[in-house]
Symmetry: C2
Subunit: 341 residues, 2 copies
């Protein structure tokens, strides 16, 4: 780890990202966001939030899962190279100002506006009957606006599907600043991930714990090999000599995402389509590629897991540092809203 602390460089743009701690992180997170964070910390003032309160909107009855996942995710962060000297890692529930801002922002948003949020709408439909949706779930975009504004982040890495969240947040910022005649809150721009979403090993949708189709950063080498072996390819590619399909073939999707030798991958694709290239050989290659990436991560993970107390101290320090920023924002908010007596 470097010793220079970049986290308070005022010349750098402020970025906020994070994850809901509902389970350990997987390869989808790795290509979708973690690598990006490792790069961003070099050039930006980056906050990474372990969103335990947001996890509770879905996992309110599984506090043990959330508690355990917070530690797992923290270890994952450090293992992939998110450097606490360059990035401020914090735990959401350690920042009471986020709850305070949430409660204040709730007055600036109508129920109907929240219900119209496309992301919330989609997720609601997945959950089934709307009448069972909790107030915490419906209002979580407001909670996100509080996360982002409390550290005055102006750049938020998101997937395309999260764009309505940024829009909602900016609406709140504009309304707040207009109503209270202030400029304390800052609007944020989305930073859309270039990589498309990594499918699960079954080739379906995205990786998720509930679908049991994810390769975790914490999986050992044998587990990775077994998962790659079970990976979905071309169901019509029965014999090695048969021509095979590349499109929709999960092994190739993963090679595209992880194999550093793009030229060889292109040649393999051609060979596969021609016939004469077996799935086993491809899967062996992918296993090697993945384990080359995962072995050092796995080794650092094992090291960190041995001293979870020291690791948690990093989160506590980051939370403390974030709290100071959030307290300063909250003071300005109180000033603007005449809540200082």
């Amino acid at each position: 780890m470097k010793t220079i602390n970049h986290t308070t460089n005022p010349l750098r743009e402020i970025v906020l990202t994070g994850d809901r701690p509902t389970g350990p992180l997987h390869l989808g997170h790795y290509v979708g966001s973690l690598l990006n964070r490792v790069a961003l910390q070099e050039t930006h003032q980056q906050f990474v939030m372990i969103a335990d309160l947001q996890a509770l909107t879905d996992y309110y009855d599984k506090p043990d899962t959330v508690h355990h996942a917070v530690r797992q995710i923290l270890v994952d962060y450090l293992a992939v190279g998110i450097d606490p000297c360059m990035t401020t890692i914090f735990i959401q529930s350690g920042i009471p100002e986020i709850a305070e801002l949430t409660v204040l922002y709730l007055n600036l948003v109508t129920i109907n506006r929240l219900r119209r949020n496309p992301t919330v709408k989609t997720e609601m439909q997945q959950k089934g009957a709307e009448e069972h949706v909790s107030a915490g779930f419906l209002t979580y975009p407001v909670n996100q606006a509080a996360d982002i504004t409390c550290v005055k982040a102006t750049l938020v890495p998101v997937g395309e599907d999260q764009l309505p969240m940024i829009e909602q947040m900016n609406e709140i910022v504009r309304d707040f600043n207009r109503i209270y005649h202030t400029t304390v809150l800052r609007e944020a721009k989305p930073l859309i991930a270039r990589t498309s979403r990594l499918p699960g090993i079954d080739g379906k949708a995205k990786m998720s714990k509930s679908l049991n189709n994810a390769i975790y950063l914490s999986d050992d080498a044998d587990t990775v090999a077994a998962k790659v072996k079970a990976m979905y390819t071309d169901p019509n590619h029965l014999r090695v000599s048969d021509p095979g399909q590349v499109a929709g073939n999960t092994v190739f999707t993963y090679l595209d995402a992880f194999d550093p030798d793009h030229k060889e991958v292109a040649e393999l694709k051609e060979h596969y389509q021609r016939g004469g290239l077996g799935d086993m050989m491809l899967k062996k290659r992918l296993t090697d590629v993945l384990n080359t990436i995962l072995t050092p991560i796995r080794e650092r993970r094992a090291l960190f897991m041995k001293d979870l107390e020291a690791i948690m101290a990093i989160a506590h320090e980051g939370t403390q540092r974030t709290r100071e920023v959030a307290q300063s924002t909250m003071y300005e908010v109180r000033e603007a809203m005449k809540l200082l007596y």
Copy 2:
């Protein structure tokens, strides 16, 4: 003021009440709740909350009104005899734990449950189109549950119309304790006010600033006289000699509420119904009765207004004391929810 501090006597039941600071307090508050608080502080551990955050659910765009009203209400409290040595007076926004609990409780309540709350339903209909209702308004019963539980109050003085709020709060308490295998939160019982609601001087509905039909604790003697003079009586009682109606006659409603001589009031009612008793004479009596009550309050008010800084120090001290209780509750809540890392 007494010097013994009863506020931390563990043998006393804990009561929480409060007001939304949207304007100065009036005679309706006086008979409906203030007198009750002056009595309760002798026998209970009483918290009185100036609910500025709840005021903002309706007054989000009038921060100056709320800010000013906080001071007015504090002065009103002290002037009527709420004693800061016996009652802990605090400002809601000074307790971040209330926001934190609100955010946690939002996960335990469905949107539909909130919408079914009769009090919210009625108020929503008064506000007009439901689509314009803010998330802050719909969720304010959850905020109230946070107010009550953060100090572990078990007794909440309310009007009949507020009973659904207590019910909602107790539901949250039971769900929380069950889900997190704890007994940290306490259910509360309502303490229903015996006095019926005081009508406005127009005889209509309740006193309210927007209807301009209230007599304030801060009104001077002439203003009280003028307001009583304008008071609604029996519109068919045209001449002194005419028989008059007592039912629905606001002057008699007020005499019933404020005149200490119930026997004389009974005689006056009889005389009025018989005919031969003029409105002017009755109104003169009521003015005297009200000014007898209001003069000492008015004098104390004037005294306190001269040193608002010292008065605000009382609120700061009460807020600090409440904060210590709320922090201890919040610690137990975090422990139960596994939010201590």
